[in-house]
């Protein structure tokens, strides 16, 4: 004779799990915003091309990248705010429900030269890991 048992699915528990998933996703978004704030604040601003060339991505993708050639001097606060806004926009577009890595990139052609002088990614890695 076969045996069987029936488990009652607790709808309430399912709702709580969904709520927890939502809370965790918000926490991850908060952390990504914190990283975005830090990376843009510690970035140098001359023309603003570097600080507005950051992007967040999951996996491969075409990074945001601007050249500083023939650009006028930028207002620091405006450029930092725009760079931060770009990253916030990326965060809102990311599907964070099933990922374990998000990549911060800077696609400006002079990103390596900036890193040599200002160590932006070195500081981000030290502060946030990665």
């Amino acid at each position: 004779m076969s045996m069987q048992t029936t488990i009652k699915v607790n709808k309430s528990l399912d709702d709580k799990m969904k709520m927890l998933e939502g809370l965790i996703e918000e926490k991850v978004k908060d952390q990504l915003e914190y990283v975005a704030n830090y990376a843009t604040v510690v970035s140098p601003v001359d023309t603003g091309a570097y600080v507005t060339s950051f992007s967040y991505a999951i996996g491969a993708g075409r990074p945001r990248g601007k050249s500083s050639a023939n650009r006028p001097k930028a207002n620091r606060e405006e450029a930092v705010s725009k760079g931060r806004g770009n990253l916030y926009s990326d965060i809102n577009k990311l599907d964070l429900s099933n990922v374990d890595k998000v990549t911060l990139r800077n696609g400006s052609p002079h990103a390596k030269a900036v890193e040599k002088k200002y160590s932006v990614f070195t500081k981000v890695r030290n502060k946030f890991g990665g």
Binding site: K112, A113, K116, S119, T122, K123, N126, K127
Partner: protein
């Protein structure tokens, strides 16, 4: 106290100055004219965090940051020289090393090395350089 940054920098720079087998060092905001064709190290002290380590009044603080060393070698001569210097530096600042320093007030601090890692070599004419990052922390 805020002057701990002076002591941390001094601890790391003194430790570096005692490492043998590496070229001369260009320190931050000190006049240094590199000679093309002659290798040199360039250091940067990068504090990244100062946070209470515990809750409560007057908590001990955790300070952390990076001591970056850019190993510059002449371009066009292959990566070996830069690799060799980077290896010496990684060994001198190996993770879990404690670096002790006593300041002029006879206060001694111990800076702990969290990690030592190198990045890829990059050509930046007339140099080829390798970045060696020393992650440090201290509770004070």
């Amino acid at each position: 106290m805020a002057s701990i940054y002076n002591d941390i920098r001094a601890a790391l720079e003194t430790h570096l100055s005692n490492v043998s087998g590496v070229p001369s060092v260009a320190y931050e905001n000190v006049s240094f004219e590199p000679t093309t064709g002659t290798s040199f190290l360039q250091v940067m002290f990068l504090p990244t965090e100062r946070r209470p380590a515990v809750r409560g009044l007057n908590p001990q603080q955790r300070y952390q940051g990076v001591f970056s060393i850019l190993v510059h070698t002449p371009e066009g001569k292959g990566p070996k020289e830069a690799d060799d210097y980077a290896n010496i530096l990684l060994e001198a600042f190996e993770a879990t090393t404690d670096i002790s320093f006593t300041n002029s007030n006879l206060e001694t601090i111990n800076v702990s090395i969290d990690y030592a890692e190198r990045q890829q070599g990059i050509l930046d004419s007339p140099w080829y350089y390798v970045r060696v990052d020393i992650g440090w922390y201290i509770y004070k």
